[in-house]
Symmetry: C2
Subunit: 320 residues, 2 copies
Amino acid sequence: MVGGWRRIAGVASTRTVVAVDVGGTETKAALVSGRPAAAVPLAEHRRPTPRRADSGTTVAAVVDLVLYLVEELRREGGREVEAVGVVVPGVVDEERGVGVYSANLGWRDAPFAELLTARTGLPTAFGHDVRAGGLAELRLGAARGHRDALIMPIGTGIAAAIVVGGRVHSAGGYAGELGHIDIGHGEPCGCGQRGCLERVASSAAIARRYTRRSGREVRGAVDVAEAVRAGDQDAVAVWEEAVTALGKALVLACTILGPEVVVLGGGLALARELLTEPLGRRLNELMTFQRPPELRLAELGDGAGRLGAALLALDLLEAR
Amino acid sequence: MVGGWRRIAGVASTRTVVAVDVGGTETKAALVSGRPAAAVPLAEHRRPTPRRADSGTTVAAVVDLVLYLVEELRREGGREVEAVGVVVPGVVDEERGVGVYSANLGWRDAPFAELLTARTGLPTAFGHDVRAGGLAELRLGAARGHRDALIMPIGTGIAAAIVVGGRVHSAGGYAGELGHIDIGHGEPCGCGQRGCLERVASSAAIARRYTRRSGREVRGAVDVAEAVRAGDQDAVAVWEEAVTALGKALVLACTILGPEVVVLGGGLALARELLTEPLGRRLNELMTFQRPPELRLAELGDGAGRLGAALLALDLLEAR
């Protein structure tokens, strides 16, 4: 986050929007001033994401929370808000403005854009957290200047923003489910398939597999990375399995898409060269005729989704 | 081919172009009259594709052949030619107008667009055979009206035209190599990888695997399809392996891309419902959260590449 906001500070601000990233546990909001190519945060807020018994009441509670955040930020910032950008996880159809499905937050076919526009009385852009984060990395971060890219945050789960010809591809919300491609390990996944990348290479999976193998509890993949650096052989084995799985998945994705650059983000990217160096070697070993992508670390941290939400809102104002 | 040309007959013709599809063995050309959304062929020619000892002389011979075909078709059609569209196989960078690599025809980094424009004295569009064929299916064939599609010709090899947001994705020529994704069978491929789809599911592979298994020679996958219909158990086994492999590959591609429609073309699509029915069942079994694509047969036959070349030339005139 810090990197992203810092990079764009000093740019002439022209419009003021509120950007909201509705996460699985926490909702992060910011008052942002800027234009589509740049944005500067004026104030920030965090609240727990509400979760109710059913889809309809959860959606209503999320809309209420956005409304509250818009009012708070408007008041604190002392500026008129011209538009709102909201991003959520799950399957999101940006074109229809619908949250199609979220396993985590429990909604189905929630018409967020319509509800938010009606309740806020402001132009509201609605998007997907990973694709919005990808848009931010594309315009302001590690994928700047590229037309064909893959931006892959690796955290509790794995997904990707697919950039094709300078635009983030959505396919009605179904594109980019890189965490659920079969890389052949055979283990069942919560999605109903077997062999999913996510079961071996997500931050959560790395921590879980390390504990299963070594009997030692860890707080997360960051601890496993630390153990790798200390020469712990269980950690090394689990890490290598994760890197090999990521390598296989990226070879598949690159054979289909041919990106110039692959940006690694999320919690796992905090391991920096411990991730990029062996993964780069693995790609070089596995690829034959394909164009090897440049491997980069994300630059915008966990604020990328919110920054992307701000860009969507600024784009919406620009298009009017 | 016939289907494609027939569909668009009767449309008011506005510009006249020559379209050339340089194939691995044969080069097909047509004089075409039309506009970017439609095209009508006035005359056609076929010649063996020249192949010389090295890249430079092969490229020069191909350029000479295009020149000859343009002159012949101009003479026969009795019309002034306004532009030329040429498509070739291999890795093609449409943006730079370069034939980056063809294993089959032996060239590397051949500046076709520049050479052809200089020699013909006409605006010349240069493209990739599979992507141009995909463009034709998108505008005039089985993918009409869709924004996100995969058009996959299955012949000697397997490749795909990836349509994203209504445009064919190239990635500097590296996109769409669906024949070379690892689906886990472990057999080595000519590309240097193992487990490639093409080794099990191309028309050539199906014929080869049937002969290896049964000891019976066949002319191609069409004969194997015939044997499947007659209840030949070797044929049934080989066909099922191919369908399963295609199913795995399409699940991977759909998990990444989320297309609304998958169009099957090339020689193998001549088997029609013998291909689409079991493949559709396989996709339904394998997919869980993904959006199942509609499976369709290509409508434009083996003239799709040439029709696409005509569309590229008409687009070029339109853009001027």
